[in-house]
């Protein structure tokens, strides 16, 4: 009895799962991107890769420190 009463539900559930799988496959087919060569694929990856946010500040600070130490050297050299 129990088995019979669950049967329609199971069938409906299976159909829904099948439909979902079909939809997923269709979506995947639509979303797939093709790259003709390795360079194209790498180029796409490069475009979607950004340098870390804090990097510019780090480099800028180091550059300023470097420039300041050069300036100090020039000042000592020129006797200012």
């Amino acid at each position: 009895m129990e088995e019979n009463s669950q049967s329609p539900k199971t069938t409906r559930g299976t159909r829904q799962e099948q439909r979902l799988r079909q939809e997923e496959t269709a979506a995947q087919k639509t979303d797939a991107i093709e790259f003709q060569t390795a360079e194209e694929l790498i180029r796409h990856d490069a475009k979607s890769t950004s340098p870390p946010e804090g990097l510019e500040k780090r480099v800028k600070e180091s550059v300023e420190r470097e420039a300041a130490s050069k300036r100090r050297w020039w000042h000592r050299f020129l006797g200012r």
């Binding site: 890769t49 550059v63 420039a67």
Partner: protein, 188 residues
Amino acid sequence: MRTGDTNQPAELGTFQSTAWDKTGFGAVYSEHVSAIYYLALRMLGNPDQAEDATHDIFLRAFRNYGEFRGESAVRTWLYRIAINHCRNLLKSWRSRTMVTESDPAFWERAATVPDTPFRILEMKELGQQIQRALDMLPEEYRLLLLLVADEKLSYEEVADLTGQTTDAVRGKLHRARKAFAAAFASTH
């Protein structure tokens, strides 16, 4: 090609502007950082190490900026510094396992991979997949693919950076593509 030509006054002490802006180095950084960071990332395979390496590459470039004569494009000059830096790091680490030309099975398989397009369904882990594939390649192929992928570099510039003729670049590129395709397929 060089951006800004006023580094001398800044070095002598123009007090209002920072060296970053005054020398034009800030503009050089902004224009090329993405390319240099990406090369370091895929050469070294680790985001933290790539960040440190990119910092060191630009600092080294700044130190030599006054001597840059513009005989090559700024990008090529930066790439040269980056390649040397990454090679030195890799040499000193010697900790990463890579498949080399001495693995005959891998290269036999690579040579037979047909030239079919890469069909990507899942973009989320694409970067990691590309990294794994690049890690499997000999350094020469990896570098070649990374440089050729940069549309701003000509084949002549790639040849110059890798120390070979343009014909050799074209020949090796064909083999590098095959090797990458085999390596990429094995990462699925």
